[in-house]
Symmetry: C2
Subunit: 248 residues, 2 copies
DNA sequence: GACCCGCATTGATTTAAATCAACCAACCCT
DNA sequence: AGGGTTGGTTGATTTAAATCAATGCGGGTC
């Protein structure tokens, strides 16, 4: 559990790994220089809660590396994940002062942060940032609506298959894996986190993962490493149009 | 079913009923004049499908009056509503060419439309529009995430109570009804549409509406007119923090 | 008035997933 | 090497909601 912090952290926007996908993607080099001035990095450990729902939020930022979840919790403890934050995803809402959801790191992670006030001022002066943020927000809205179909209408088996398909697809785009051949990826989530994502119990998740494995839809190496021999088969199991709308 | 069309349709942005809430809310009068030039009105009848998922979208627009639903459908017919469009809500996504969801009118309605291309050009030149659209999209994203909790973790009874609470709240803000006293509103949706919203069957919806009525949480006049004697009681039934975060 | 028709309700039965309950296997400590 | 902890699996039973099936009701129309 030893941390070596600042060493691995990039300091120049120029060689930032999320440069072309994050909220700054559209910025010109002069705009980037300004951002460079006001940004700072923070790192978090796996399991750490970055932000508590209801707390005042004095910064916004981008996930540079690692994964976090956005969750809502009811008084009696029932929890629902409402977002999965991967590298380049944006955290926080300009124009709002308190956090609406818990943000929890599921792996060690690094964030590129901006104090909210200067960022908002910069946003007002820099249409490129607002444009990109709008685009990202619209994408997130689409993802949320896709997820509403999963939560509202799919069976447990279809839910698991849908989650696998989503993670496989994200992994493929992130790592620029070519399209053909069996897909291999690591599940970033525990069974419990998967259950919170899908509106299931962890027992049901475990059973359905086993069932998909028994039926040859997926292969498992350990608990986390998944191989998908036939992506279209997985999409069928997910109840999706299996037109194979692969990548982007 | 007789229609008298253009007569009731406003023609000047100045006296538009959604002027202060729609995508044009932040526009100055000179910007409004430009919009005035490129806008046009369309009206639709109850039950009509405005837009089919997958179809090319050559316009965007705002709901002026009436209500529409955004729905997703699986091949086998299971459907999930993913949005409820009320007056001032925006339809369509700049930067995308084909529709992602079906849009269906549930009442007669009037839309204020813009051809997509000119609107996109205008948006690039007019930060006020992009700013407002970002704000509206962030609000929709919050609503979608709220809904994910409802779909994923709430019981049938809580789902119905949540829906009633949402409609009551929206109705109150729209009609500027003062806060205290019993709330009265009309359900804009059939039992089947409510079921599609909530990820339930229409039978379960009917049973739970009856149960809430029997328990005095709501009162019914006919099938559609609802009275809520105690809003906090309703929020408790919805499983929400009953801090009574009323209005806005 | 008699007949539909679309919506809604209510009842009986089935079923998918939750719940309750053991048990397993890595991994980590000192 | 032993004991604890965390995450995962598997089995037995219960339960909430789906499904299957009548029946009710208000508003049109012929």
């Amino acid at each position: 559990m030893l941390k070596e912090k600042a060493s691995i952290i990039p300091h120049e926007c120029g060689d930032c790994p999320i440069r072309h996908r994050a909220v700054c993607a559209r910025c010109e080099s002069d705009e980037l220089e300004v951002l460079d001035q006001i940004k700072y990095y923070r790192s978090y450990e796996s399991g750490q809660t970055l932000i508590w729902s209801g707390d005042p939020m004095d910064f916004v930022g981008s996930v540079v590396s690692g994964i976090a979840t956005l969750t809502q919790t009811m008084e009696d403890g029932r929890t629902q994940m409402v977002g999965l934050l991967l590298p380049s995803d944006f955290v926080g809402r300009p124009g709002r002062n308190s956090a609406a959801y818990d943000v929890v790191a599921v792996t060690d992670m690094v964030m590129c942060c901006f104090r909210k006030k200067p960022f908002e001022e910069m946003m007002a002066r820099t249409p490129h940032i607002a444009q990109r943020l709008l685009e990202m927000t619209l994408d997130e809205l689409d993802a949320a609506r896709e997820w509403m179909l999963v939560l509202g209408r799919k069976t447990a088996r279809e839910k698991i298959a849908s989650l696998m398909a989503i993670i496989a697809r994200r992994d493929a785009t992130l790592n620029m894996n070519g399209t053909r051949g069996p897909l291999v990826f690591d599940l970033p989530l525990t069974r419990e986190a998967m259950a919170d994502y899908l509106g299931l119990t962890l027992e049901t998740v475990s059973r359905q993962v086993s069932a998909l494995k028994k039926d040859g839809v997926i292969e498992l190496e350990g608990k986390r490493r998944v191989t998908v021999p036939d992506f279209n088969r997985l999409l069928e199991e997910a109840g999706d149009d299996s037109d194979g709308g692969m990548l982007i």
